[in-house]
Symmetry: C2
Subunit: 147 residues, 2 copies
Protein backbone atom coordinates (compact mmCIF):
# COMPACT_ATOMS: atom_id res chain seq x y z
CA UNK A 1 0.00 0.00 0.00
CA UNK A 2 1.26 3.43 -0.92
CA UNK A 3 0.29 6.92 0.17
CA UNK A 4 0.08 10.42 -1.22
CA UNK A 5 1.41 12.93 1.32
CA UNK A 6 1.44 16.73 1.24
CA UNK A 7 1.97 19.73 3.51
CA UNK A 8 1.13 23.41 3.08
CA UNK A 9 1.16 26.37 5.46
CA UNK A 10 -1.86 28.65 5.27
CA UNK A 11 -1.82 32.21 6.60
CA UNK A 12 -5.32 32.00 8.10
CA UNK A 13 -6.87 30.94 11.45
CA UNK A 14 -7.18 27.23 12.05
CA UNK A 15 -10.99 27.34 12.17
CA UNK A 16 -11.16 28.93 8.71
CA UNK A 17 -8.95 26.22 7.22
CA UNK A 18 -10.89 23.55 9.12
CA UNK A 19 -14.21 24.88 7.81
CA UNK A 20 -12.88 24.91 4.25
CA UNK A 21 -12.41 21.14 4.54
CA UNK A 22 -15.14 20.20 7.02
CA UNK A 23 -18.12 21.70 5.16
CA UNK A 24 -19.57 21.17 1.67
CA UNK A 25 -19.63 24.95 1.16
CA UNK A 26 -15.94 25.14 2.04
CA UNK A 27 -14.97 22.29 -0.29
CA UNK A 28 -16.85 24.01 -3.13
CA UNK A 29 -14.44 26.92 -2.71
CA UNK A 30 -11.27 25.04 -3.61
CA UNK A 31 -11.92 21.46 -4.89
CA UNK A 32 -15.05 21.37 -7.03
CA UNK A 33 -17.91 23.84 -7.09
CA UNK A 34 -20.26 20.86 -7.55
CA UNK A 35 -20.07 19.64 -3.95
CA UNK A 36 -23.23 18.59 -2.11
CA UNK A 37 -24.16 16.29 0.74
CA UNK A 38 -23.88 16.40 4.50
CA UNK A 39 -20.61 16.81 6.31
CA UNK A 40 -21.39 14.86 9.49
CA UNK A 41 -19.84 11.65 10.77
CA UNK A 42 -21.47 8.69 9.00
CA UNK A 43 -22.93 10.91 6.26
CA UNK A 44 -21.75 11.43 2.70
CA UNK A 45 -20.25 14.23 0.65
CA UNK A 46 -20.83 14.00 -3.10
CA UNK A 47 -18.32 15.71 -5.40
CA UNK A 48 -18.68 15.88 -9.18
CA UNK A 49 -16.35 17.16 -11.89
CA UNK A 50 -18.62 17.54 -14.91
CA UNK A 51 -18.38 14.65 -17.36
CA UNK A 52 -15.28 13.25 -15.66
CA UNK A 53 -17.25 11.77 -12.76
CA UNK A 54 -16.33 12.37 -9.14
CA UNK A 55 -16.14 10.99 -5.64
CA UNK A 56 -18.52 10.01 -2.85
CA UNK A 57 -16.86 10.44 0.53
CA UNK A 58 -18.10 8.98 3.81
CA UNK A 59 -17.18 11.26 6.69
CA UNK A 60 -15.29 9.24 9.34
CA UNK A 61 -14.06 11.98 11.64
CA UNK A 62 -14.69 15.68 12.23
CA UNK A 63 -12.71 17.26 15.04
CA UNK A 64 -12.54 21.07 15.04
CA UNK A 65 -9.37 20.80 17.14
CA UNK A 66 -7.72 19.79 13.86
CA UNK A 67 -8.68 16.51 12.25
CA UNK A 68 -10.92 15.44 9.35
CA UNK A 69 -11.04 11.98 7.83
CA UNK A 70 -12.99 10.56 4.89
CA UNK A 71 -13.36 7.15 3.26
CA UNK A 72 -13.91 7.03 -0.49
CA UNK A 73 -17.03 4.92 -1.09
CA UNK A 74 -17.56 5.67 -4.79
CA UNK A 75 -15.42 7.01 -7.61
CA UNK A 76 -12.54 5.70 -9.74
CA UNK A 77 -11.75 2.05 -8.90
CA UNK A 78 -8.31 2.96 -7.55
CA UNK A 79 -9.86 5.38 -5.05
CA UNK A 80 -12.55 3.16 -3.59
CA UNK A 81 -11.69 2.12 -0.04
CA UNK A 82 -8.84 4.62 0.28
CA UNK A 83 -8.86 7.13 3.14
CA UNK A 84 -8.14 10.83 3.06
CA UNK A 85 -6.76 12.36 6.24
CA UNK A 86 -6.41 16.04 7.16
CA UNK A 87 -4.60 17.42 10.19
CA UNK A 88 -4.47 21.09 11.07
CA UNK A 89 -2.02 22.59 13.50
CA UNK A 90 -1.19 26.20 14.40
CA UNK A 91 2.45 27.30 14.15
CA UNK A 92 3.29 30.99 14.29
CA UNK A 93 1.25 32.84 11.68
CA UNK A 94 0.53 29.60 9.80
CA UNK A 95 -2.08 26.90 9.98
CA UNK A 96 -0.12 23.84 8.91
CA UNK A 97 -2.09 21.34 6.82
CA UNK A 98 -0.76 17.77 6.90
CA UNK A 99 -2.51 15.74 4.24
CA UNK A 100 -2.52 12.01 3.53
CA UNK A 101 -4.40 9.97 0.93
CA UNK A 102 -3.79 6.47 2.24
CA UNK A 103 -4.32 2.92 1.06
CA UNK A 104 -3.59 2.94 -2.66
CA UNK A 105 -3.07 -0.66 -3.73
CA UNK A 106 -0.34 0.08 -6.31
CA UNK A 107 1.75 3.11 -7.36
CA UNK A 108 0.02 3.23 -10.77
CA UNK A 109 0.42 6.11 -13.20
CA UNK A 110 -2.98 7.45 -12.14
CA UNK A 111 -1.68 7.71 -8.57
CA UNK A 112 1.25 9.83 -9.80
CA UNK A 113 -1.29 12.11 -11.50
CA UNK A 114 -3.52 12.33 -8.42
CA UNK A 115 -0.51 13.20 -6.25
CA UNK A 116 0.32 16.24 -8.37
CA UNK A 117 -3.35 17.14 -8.71
CA UNK A 118 -3.77 16.98 -4.91
CA UNK A 119 -0.86 19.41 -4.54
CA UNK A 120 -2.58 21.84 -6.89
CA UNK A 121 -5.85 21.53 -4.95
CA UNK A 122 -4.02 22.09 -1.64
CA UNK A 123 -2.56 25.27 -3.11
CA UNK A 124 -6.11 26.17 -4.16
CA UNK A 125 -7.26 25.54 -0.56
CA UNK A 126 -4.44 27.79 0.70
CA UNK A 127 -5.49 30.55 -1.71
CA UNK A 128 -9.15 30.12 -0.80
CA UNK A 129 -8.49 30.37 2.96
CA UNK A 130 -6.12 33.31 2.55
CA UNK A 131 -7.99 35.37 -0.05
CA UNK A 132 -11.54 33.99 -0.25
CA UNK A 133 -10.89 32.83 -3.80
CA UNK A 134 -9.62 29.35 -4.71
CA UNK A 135 -9.46 27.46 -8.00
CA UNK A 136 -12.12 24.74 -7.70
CA UNK A 137 -13.15 22.68 -10.74
CA UNK A 138 -14.16 23.52 -13.40
CA UNK A 139 -11.57 26.32 -13.04
CA UNK A 140 -8.83 24.09 -11.66
CA UNK A 141 -5.30 24.10 -13.00
CA UNK A 142 -4.75 21.75 -15.94
CA UNK A 143 -1.60 19.76 -15.18
CA UNK A 144 -1.61 17.47 -18.24
CA UNK A 145 -3.61 15.28 -20.59
CA UNK A 146 -5.63 13.77 -17.73
CA UNK A 147 -6.51 17.31 -16.62
CA UNK B 1 10.68 3.05 2.51
CA UNK B 2 8.26 5.57 1.03
CA UNK B 3 8.20 7.46 -2.25
CA UNK B 4 7.10 10.78 -3.64
CA UNK B 5 5.36 10.32 -7.00
CA UNK B 6 4.14 12.88 -9.53
CA UNK B 7 2.97 13.17 -13.13
CA UNK B 8 2.53 16.17 -15.40
CA UNK B 9 1.88 16.52 -19.13
CA UNK B 10 3.95 19.13 -20.92
CA UNK B 11 2.95 20.57 -24.29
CA UNK B 12 6.51 20.54 -25.69
CA UNK B 13 8.71 18.08 -27.60
CA UNK B 14 10.28 15.30 -25.57
CA UNK B 15 13.85 16.51 -26.23
CA UNK B 16 13.04 19.95 -24.81
CA UNK B 17 11.63 18.46 -21.61
CA UNK B 18 14.55 16.01 -21.43
CA UNK B 19 17.07 18.85 -21.82
CA UNK B 20 15.35 20.85 -19.09
CA UNK B 21 16.14 17.99 -16.68
CA UNK B 22 19.34 16.56 -18.20
CA UNK B 23 21.41 19.77 -18.25
CA UNK B 24 22.50 22.24 -15.56
CA UNK B 25 21.28 25.13 -17.76
CA UNK B 26 17.87 23.46 -18.04
CA UNK B 27 17.56 22.85 -14.30
CA UNK B 28 18.42 26.50 -13.65
CA UNK B 29 15.28 27.39 -15.59
CA UNK B 30 12.78 25.74 -13.26
CA UNK B 31 14.36 24.43 -10.00
CA UNK B 32 17.06 26.83 -8.80
CA UNK B 33 18.95 29.40 -10.81
CA UNK B 34 22.06 28.50 -8.76
CA UNK B 35 22.73 25.16 -10.51
CA UNK B 36 26.26 24.25 -11.55
CA UNK B 37 28.26 21.07 -12.17
CA UNK B 38 28.45 18.53 -14.95
CA UNK B 39 25.45 16.54 -16.10
CA UNK B 40 27.22 13.33 -17.19
CA UNK B 41 26.95 9.85 -15.73
CA UNK B 42 29.21 9.61 -12.67
CA UNK B 43 29.54 13.39 -12.38
CA UNK B 44 27.81 15.78 -10.01
CA UNK B 45 25.21 18.53 -10.22
CA UNK B 46 25.36 21.12 -7.42
CA UNK B 47 22.16 23.00 -6.59
CA UNK B 48 21.94 25.77 -4.02
CA UNK B 49 18.99 27.71 -2.59
CA UNK B 50 20.65 30.74 -0.96
CA UNK B 51 21.01 30.41 2.82
CA UNK B 52 18.78 27.35 2.93
CA UNK B 53 21.46 25.02 1.57
CA UNK B 54 20.88 22.68 -1.32
CA UNK B 55 21.58 19.32 -2.93
CA UNK B 56 24.50 17.54 -4.60
CA UNK B 57 23.23 15.01 -7.12
CA UNK B 58 25.29 12.22 -8.67
CA UNK B 59 24.07 11.49 -12.19
CA UNK B 60 23.28 7.77 -12.49
CA UNK B 61 21.55 7.63 -15.86
CA UNK B 62 21.03 9.91 -18.86
CA UNK B 63 19.04 8.43 -21.71
CA UNK B 64 17.66 10.89 -24.27
CA UNK B 65 15.04 8.29 -25.20
CA UNK B 66 13.37 9.28 -21.91
CA UNK B 67 15.12 8.51 -18.64
CA UNK B 68 17.19 10.49 -16.12
CA UNK B 69 18.22 9.24 -12.70
CA UNK B 70 20.13 10.91 -9.85
CA UNK B 71 21.35 9.86 -6.43
CA UNK B 72 21.41 12.51 -3.68
CA UNK B 73 24.94 12.52 -2.24
CA UNK B 74 24.72 15.68 -0.13
CA UNK B 75 21.92 17.80 1.30
CA UNK B 76 19.36 17.42 4.09
CA UNK B 77 19.89 14.19 6.07
CA UNK B 78 16.54 12.79 4.91
CA UNK B 79 17.55 13.21 1.26
CA UNK B 80 20.99 11.60 1.35
CA UNK B 81 20.96 8.23 -0.40
CA UNK B 82 17.54 8.76 -1.96
CA UNK B 83 17.13 8.50 -5.73
CA UNK B 84 15.25 10.78 -8.10
CA UNK B 85 13.88 9.21 -11.24
CA UNK B 86 12.49 10.91 -14.35
CA UNK B 87 10.74 9.21 -17.26
CA UNK B 88 9.57 11.02 -20.37
CA UNK B 89 7.10 9.59 -22.83
CA UNK B 90 5.29 11.10 -25.80
CA UNK B 91 1.48 10.85 -25.90
CA UNK B 92 -0.46 12.94 -28.38
CA UNK B 93 0.52 16.58 -28.01
CA UNK B 94 1.98 15.94 -24.54
CA UNK B 95 5.32 14.85 -23.19
CA UNK B 96 4.33 12.91 -20.08
CA UNK B 97 6.70 13.30 -17.13
CA UNK B 98 6.60 10.45 -14.60
CA UNK B 99 8.55 11.45 -11.53
CA UNK B 100 9.65 9.46 -8.48
CA UNK B 101 11.72 10.46 -5.46
CA UNK B 102 12.45 7.06 -3.98
CA UNK B 103 13.93 5.66 -0.80
CA UNK B 104 12.74 7.97 1.99
CA UNK B 105 13.27 6.15 5.27
CA UNK B 106 10.14 7.51 6.98
CA UNK B 107 7.07 9.55 6.00
CA UNK B 108 8.21 12.48 8.15
CA UNK B 109 6.60 15.92 8.01
CA UNK B 110 9.51 17.17 5.91
CA UNK B 111 8.68 14.52 3.30
CA UNK B 112 5.08 15.82 3.14
CA UNK B 113 6.51 19.30 2.49
CA UNK B 114 8.94 18.05 -0.16
CA UNK B 115 6.13 16.20 -1.94
CA UNK B 116 4.08 19.40 -2.36
CA UNK B 117 7.20 21.40 -3.19
CA UNK B 118 8.16 18.87 -5.91
CA UNK B 119 4.69 19.31 -7.44
CA UNK B 120 5.22 23.06 -7.60
CA UNK B 121 8.64 22.57 -9.22
CA UNK B 122 7.17 20.13 -11.77
CA UNK B 123 4.59 22.78 -12.66
CA UNK B 124 7.49 25.22 -12.96
CA UNK B 125 9.25 22.73 -15.29
CA UNK B 126 6.05 22.48 -17.36
CA UNK B 127 5.84 26.28 -17.62
CA UNK B 128 9.54 26.53 -18.47
CA UNK B 129 9.33 23.95 -21.27
CA UNK B 130 6.10 25.43 -22.65
CA UNK B 131 6.88 29.14 -22.41
CA UNK B 132 10.62 29.48 -21.78
CA UNK B 133 9.93 30.92 -18.35
CA UNK B 134 9.72 28.83 -15.16
CA UNK B 135 9.75 29.74 -11.47
CA UNK B 136 13.16 28.57 -10.21
CA UNK B 137 14.38 29.60 -6.75
CA UNK B 138 14.72 32.28 -5.53
CA UNK B 139 11.43 33.06 -7.33
CA UNK B 140 9.76 29.77 -6.48
CA UNK B 141 6.26 29.56 -5.06
CA UNK B 142 6.12 29.81 -1.25
CA UNK B 143 3.89 26.96 -0.04
CA UNK B 144 4.26 27.49 3.71
CA UNK B 145 6.53 28.29 6.65
CA UNK B 146 9.26 25.99 5.33
CA UNK B 147 9.11 27.87 2.06
Amino acid sequence: MVDILHRVGVVAPIDEVYNAVATAEGIAGWWTNDTVGTSAVGEKLVLRFGDVGGFDLEVLELDPAGHVRWRVVDGPAEWIGTEIDWRFDRRGEYTIVLFGHHGWQEPVEFMHHCSTKWASFLLSLKEFAETGRGRPAPNDLRIGDWH
